[in-house]
């Protein structure tokens, strides 16, 4: 198990600041995810760790060994590429054996370790196949076996699932997670899919325009996003802006969308503007007169998504509020109907202006 220390790394391409001063401490055995929109610098950062992209500034260390000055073939990282990068001129076993041969492992040893690695990814018996005889999911497993068999210090994965179809993606991500945990290997995982990141990671770094926006455990990042950007990127939310009307004990009273919301207290003076995030699933339809904090409005639109029911609820003015709930039939989602929504103020995140 290896810790990875990334300190103040920077890289520009022409006028683009692809990575603009990023520091991360990745703990031994952790699956650490870089999450962010397209072009935010995730791949660049990962390739810096692998050695395929030079640093303008900063340093990277595995444990207490600085590695950013080493050429890529001496870094002992195992990389899984988005398009698999399976050598078409070698068999499956040849692909998996490639890194072992490069390390001068003895022939008998190679065979044993290749066999075990293929077993690990449920491809026992596929060793003599040619790559073109495999499906996308199987190729992905070969790529994984090939990266794991060399017992790398760090496993690097750049959107490894983006070429697979939806169901396979779910299975594979579980498999990757299980393997990573049983082998206890440190992994850096790049994705722009927030659901994937939340499901698989020990910790997540949300990136934006070459910088870190927030680092933390999935639940923490989802529940208490540090910035409006993180709140929006990690799934649908209601990002509201309003005016502070009063302080009431542990809560602020904020006027927004023609209603009054109760949000956790923050150091914001009365009369100033404040924005806050309210997740759709934190809003619960109730009978009027419910003891919780409530808002009232009328249903503007409804969508059935199988088990889920999504409502757009129009309050006073402005855009409608998004609401999501398990569809248990209790709410009749007829447009125009008045509805009362209750929420726990603790589930609202306030962003200091």
């Amino acid at each position: 198990m290896t810790a990875v220390t990334i300190s103040r790394v920077e890289r520009t391409f022409g006028a683009v600041h692809a990575v603009a001063g990023v520091s991360i401490d990745i703990r031994p055995g952790e699956l650490f995810t870089l999450l962010g929109p397209s072009g935010c610098g995730k791949t660049t950062l990962l390739r810096m760790v692998a050695g395929f992209c030079d640093l303008d500034q900063g340093s990277i260390a595995f444990g207490d060994r600085r590695i950013d000055t080493l050429p890529p073939h001496r870094r002992n990282t195992g990389m899984v590429f988005q398009n698999y990068a399976i050598f078409p001129n070698l068999t499956v076993a040849g692909n998996v054996a490639y890194g072992l041969k490069a390390r001068g492992v003895a022939g008998a040893d190679i065979q044993r370790r290749v066999g075990r690695a293929l077993e690990l990814v449920h491809l026992d018996g596929y060793g003599e196949r040619q790559p073109f005889q495999l499906s996308g999911g199987q190729l992905q497993r070969v790529a994984l076996a090939r990266a794991l068999v060399i017992e790398p210090d760090v496993l690097l994965l750049d959107e490894p699932l983006s070429n697979l179809d939806a169901q396979l993606r779910l299975d594979m991500r579980r498999e990757i997670r299980t393997l990573q945990q049983t082998l206890g290997i440190t992994a850096i995982y790049v994705t722009h899919d927030q659901e994937e990141a939340l499901a698989i990671s020990d910790r997540i770094a949300v990136m934006r325009a070459g910088r870190l926006e927030q680092v933390g455990a999935p639940a923490a990042i989802y529940r208490t996003p540090a910035t409006p950007f993180v709140a929006e990127f990690l799934g649908a939310t209601n990002l509201l802006t309003g005016t502070v009307e009063a302080l009431d004990g542990a809560h602020l009273l904020v006027a927004a969308l023609g209603r009054r919301f109760r949000v956790p207290a923050a150091a914001v003076p009365t009369g100033s503007a404040v924005s806050f995030s309210l997740r759709p699933e934190a809003l619960i339809p109730v009978e009027p007169g419910h003891p919780w904090a409530t808002v009232t409005g009328e249903i503007a639109a409804a969508e059935h998504l199988g088990a889920l029911l999504r409502l757009d609820v129009r309050l006073g003015d402005g855009p409608p509020l998004r609401v999501a709930m398990l569809d248990d039939g209790a709410v009749a989602p007829a447009p125009g109907r008045p509805i009362t929504l209750a929420y726990d103020p603790a589930r609202i995140t306030v962003f200091a202006p």
Binding site: G14, A50, G51, F52, D54, P71, P72, H73, R74, R75, N76, T77, G78, M79, F81, Q82, N83, A85, F87, P88, N89, Y98, G99, A102, R103, R146, A147, I150
Partner: protein
């Protein structure tokens, strides 16, 4: 922009340094000598522009410049006028024998142009077979010599430079672009003119500039057909070899003018057209047009006519070579006598050609492929400079290259004149742009992440290149080497300046035969060259179609 090749490994840097050293010694240094000779007086000590003044004040040399430019321009225009409609017909219409036509359409480029010229003379020249036959029937004849013949032969040789990229461009126009135009209310014809043509025009003009450069530099065709019309590439050769006393200063001046014009055309091609290429990837190919019978006949007749006109003279020459000759007169009887006569004195030129071409072609690949690798995989200012330098031979006519090598290596610490190596070096350097471009084209089809995977798994960049990338490229490399070999075998312009003593080649034999000896031997020599061109091509055709034809 970073100045060094990325520090990731010493491999690209090593390749770049070696390539710079090689090109510096065998390309830049000879060119420098030509440039220097054009600016030095007879004693070789003082700077003077006298040579240029003399060239530009002599009517004969001025008309050499204007003739070369005029022929280049007319050939370019004619090649576009033929190549563009042919591309449309071949890409969009169900012409009978379309796949055969596509296979044949690159052939004129590869067949030796001066042999094509000779074939036309053999058929339609003053003592030509067809001419005599027509005269025998009392019919009027026209001349094939001078401007019309030159433009005709050049056009039939080089129209594929326009045709091949134009076919690719027409195919890449997405049907939805044209449909969008029609949907917005434009007629089919209007859509063609306002949407399709502008999209494919950059590719066509880029091909046209190649035609221009190639025509400008060509030595063999005007040698056969120009008669007393002065042509730049030939006048430079004459002044250098000196039938009336060599004048290296003026030869250098003409050579530099030639290089300058070609370099300007190349720069326009690279920096103006190179950027204006529209990246369109056809998702849905436009429908194949099925015109009525008349349209089909006209279209088929046109396309087949051009291709046959370009290829049949070569067939004719092979037939003539197999006929019996009594003195200069052809008999109606087959015989191998011409070949016996050709090889009576010596087989040496044939062996020289085959052996030296092999060395040069393999050398071009050995040097060109690593350069291509560094250019495509390790972008940096240094590799950009290497890219430019490796394309320079393209702008240097063979005659000029030959003159430069002689000026650089006929005395001093490295003497190469009089041997075989200087021929090999000239050919190798001249084929290098092709090797580099064909190598890059192959590399673009190989996913770079394969190499990254190999390096990531612990193999060094040089190991990865030689043991993973090269095997993956192998089909393309073999095809490219064969193509280079085939064009080297029929290389004339630098050879004729550089050969000496025992190191003459088949093209030189052919060249000498043109100056007298009789049609039979010349046709036999031409046949040997044609066979040496067509047979290897046929053998590797499938490899070529996949990888190399696009970069001709």
């Amino acid at each position: 922009m970073r100045w060094a090749v990325p520090s990731r490994s010493a491999f690209p840097l090593t390749v770049a340094v070696l390539a710079f050293a090689f090109l510096g010694l065998f390309l830049a240094y000879p060119l420098w000598k030509v440039l220097a000779s054009s600016f030095l007086d007879a004693s070789g000590m003082r700077f003077t522009v006298e040579a240029y003044a003399k060239v530009l004040s002599t009517g004969y040399y001025r008309s050499a410049i204007t003739n070369s430019l005029l022929i280049g321009a007319l050939t370019t225009a004619a090649s576009i006028a033929i190549g563009l409609p042919m591309a449309f017909l071949l890409a969009r219409m169900a012409i009978p024998g379309r796949s055969v036509l596509l296979a044949l359409s690159a052939l004129p480029l590869i067949l030796p142009s001066f042999i094509g010229a000779y074939a036309w003379v053999l058929l339609f020249g003053r003592a030509g077979i067809v001419t005599q036959w027509l005269q025998g029937l009392g019919l009027p004849t026209t001349t094939i010599y001078g401007l019309p013949g030159l433009v005709l032969v050049f056009t039939l040789h080089s129209f594929p430079y326009v045709l091949l990229p134009a076919i690719a461009a027409v195919r890449a126009v997405d049907a939805s672009i044209e449909e969008a135009g029609q949907n917005l209310g434009a007629s089919r014809w209007r859509v063609f003119l306002t949407v399709t043509v502008p999209v494919i025009m950059p590719a066509v003009l880029a091909g046209g500039l190649l035609v221009f450069i190639e025509t400008l530099e060509n030595f063999g065709v005007p040698f056969v057909l120009a008669e007393d019309m002065p042509i730049l590439a030939i006048e430079a050769y004459k002044l250098f070899v000196g039938e009336v006393g060599a004048n290296p200063g003026m030869a250098g001046a003409l050579a530099m003018i030639l290089v300058l014009i070609a370099a300007l055309a190349l720069l326009v091609q690279r920096y103006y057209l190179g950027r204006r290429r529209f990246a369109t990837v056809a998702r849905s190919a436009p429908p194949v047009l099925r015109p009525g019978p008349l349209g089909r006949w006209l279209a088929g007749g046109f396309v087949w006519g051009v291709v046959l006109l370009a290829i049949l003279p070569f067939v004719a020459i092979v037939i003539v070579a197999l006929m019996k000759f009594r003195g200069p007169v052809m008999q109606s009887e087959m015989s191998l006598g011409n070949f016996e006569q050709l090889f009576a004195r010596s087989h040496r030129p044939l062996y020289n050609t085959l052996g030296l071409a092999t060395v040069a072609a393999i050398g071009a690949s050995l040097i060109g492929i690593p350069i291509a690798y560094v250019l495509t995989r390790y972008r940096s200012t240094l590799s950009h400079a290497l890219d430019v330098l490796a394309m320079v031979p393209f702008a240097v006519a063979g005659t000029v290259m030959g003159i430069g090598l002689i000026l650089a290596f006929n005395s001093g610490w490295l003497v190469l004149t009089g041997g075989w190596l200087i021929l090999v070096l000239a050919w190798l350097v001249r084929k290098l742009p092709f090797s580099v471009r064909s190598g890059s084209a192959i590399l673009h089809q190989i996913d770079p992440s394969l190499e990254e995977a190999s390096i990531n798994l612990g193999r060094s960049p040089s190991w990865t290149f030689f043991r993973l990338t090269v095997p993956l490229m192998l089909g393309g490399i073999v095809g490219g080497t064969v193509l280079a070999w085939v064009t080297i075998v029929s290389e004339l312009s630098s050879t004729v300046v550089l050969y000496s003593g025992p190191w003459s080649t088949m093209t030189v034999v052919m060249f000498r035969a043109l100056e007298g000896q009789g049609a039979g031997a010349a046709a036999a020599a031409a046949t040997v060259l044609i066979v040496a061109t067509v047979v290897p091509l046929a053998l590797v055709y499938r490899l070529l179609r996949r990888n190399n034809l696009a970069v001709l």
